[in-house]
Symmetry: C2
Subunit: 359 residues, 2 copies
Amino acid sequence: MDQKLSYPTLQAFVRSVFLAMGCPSADAETATASLLAADLRGIDSHGVARLSGYVRLWEAGRVNARPNIQVVHESPSTAVVDGDAGLGLVVAPWAMQVAIRKAQTAGTGWVAVRHSNHFGIAAHHAMQALGHGMIGMVMTNASALVAPTFSRERLLGTNPICVAIPAGEEPPFVADMATTTAANGKLEIHSRKGIPTPTGWIQDAAGHSTTDPDALKAGGALLPLGGDCAHGSHKGYALGAIVDIWSGVLAGANFGPWVPPFPAYVPMPEGQPGKGLGHFLGAMRVDAFRSEEAFRADMDRWIRRFRSAQTVEGQEKVLIPGDPEREMEAIRLVNGIPLASSIIEDLQRTGAAFGIEWA
Amino acid sequence: MDQKLSYPTLQAFVRSVFLAMGCPSADAETATASLLAADLRGIDSHGVARLSGYVRLWEAGRVNARPNIQVVHESPSTAVVDGDAGLGLVVAPWAMQVAIRKAQTAGTGWVAVRHSNHFGIAAHHAMQALGHGMIGMVMTNASALVAPTFSRERLLGTNPICVAIPAGEEPPFVADMATTTAANGKLEIHSRKGIPTPTGWIQDAAGHSTTDPDALKAGGALLPLGGDCAHGSHKGYALGAIVDIWSGVLAGANFGPWVPPFPAYVPMPEGQPGKGLGHFLGAMRVDAFRSEEAFRADMDRWIRRFRSAQTVEGQEKVLIPGDPEREMEAIRLVNGIPLASSIIEDLQRTGAAFGIEWA
């Protein structure tokens, strides 16, 4: 049975858990905002549903609650940040601030992050740029669940890319996407309902196309955007690879099959080439290219032209990336965030272990 | 009947045509290298097959053979270049040099280009960064042939993205892809052979999915990478949109349905918001992030791990983006470039109009 909790209620609970892990007060605040941004925007797989997973990583010594995050290399428009094994939920916002500062002076700022952990949803970090009249771009690698085109092995994560672009009177353009046909969360929904997936989402352990949503758990793999070669999966593979190389190789983090797994019980891959998980974050000041006013006016024109396009039969309108998530956030801020009973029980257990009462 | 021509033979001919159009000698050289890079790399749709199209744009006054290309706005890591209606084949290399110069001092360089024309293949421009120990990224918008998810109208071009990344002993990683499921060139191959396309490539004029390769010419549209919403086409749409906004809106070029068409006989869209066609080019100095030596060693490890992955049944190996094109280039430099008789006749006619003898 779903139950709805208000944002402030959930916020107070999550913050208490991060504080109990030993996070400094400001970090607990930041981590809470990063995590709950997913629940607000309707990306339920990346929000409080993962809180116990973060706690288990901390228990396993893979997450450092009091990291010494620092810039270890820089140029006028670039930096490498070492996250000191901190929560990605804290490290990514710190790194995004560096990118924004660089962009203020150099026009753009680009920060590769190593020794981090999962950072929640990319959109939350990319959108930090918007208030500064900047375009934000954020990507991260993740543990390997995806088979490149023609591969039987999982070598890439779902490696999302987010680009957030400010407009004028219209709300911003915010595209946040895994570089796979479908993300893991959608697979779980099909599995729970016991319905087959569309083709092109997964392959089984032998590398054959399948519509069995449980094939991933049985040693199969998610497929890159496109699904198979005839439908352009080599492009999805290339996109996932670019994210992996910019986030991992450029930062000195792990990459490919060596990226640390999210479940704390999965052993670390052997022979890791780098430190932790990697991100890549960027900010581009709009007026480093043209007048911000003219840009915003043209973005409004872009958005209005696309939103008013003639639709195919059965569809009401053409969406602008970010529309569904923004509408969801507006609803959930008023009506609360619905949580499945299994998630609530998980949160209660997580809280209880720290002596924190459930909201 | 196909005929093979050596690279130097084709080069001399194409250069003569650009010179006859009035291009300065250095520009004719640059344009020839840009155009023929496509033929060498096996992207036959973007090479000499388009030469007569460029000439017709020049005849129609849409291409300026002697442009005054200039930086019109800049910051330490950014610039906007006005191409003065020059050939994209010349404007893009000029702009890429600006990006590389910026990266030498600022760590990265990002150049938005307006008032340009088609630039051939993105890979040729992005790869200019490689010799400087830099990562190159190049994208361009193009005239609208693609329907966003749920749209019946064509609002985006095939809007390619290329990322070129240097390695150590291994050849570079070069991913160059249209943000559609399949590019126009593949459609033409199916049309010529009279065979249906896979689903997810095109929709007909009414917005219904079709496998008729001639549906595009009959008012249909190419589909974004993914094909339909169940297979992630909203992601391909978002990628194409990002390319359009960075190349068009950020540069002050045209965008969306207002991008100038390649065929000179197609009238210009009304109410254009900007100047010409737009590109976005970037260069990131690897050692602005970490030691170039360490980066190159890790790239070699990345490439070798992926290339040696266990394959699915019936596939020999997992490819690294750029492998097929590099192999093709090596073959064609030795054996010559095969051209269909229809292309040869078109080139002969183009040359004859300028009094240039066919090779």
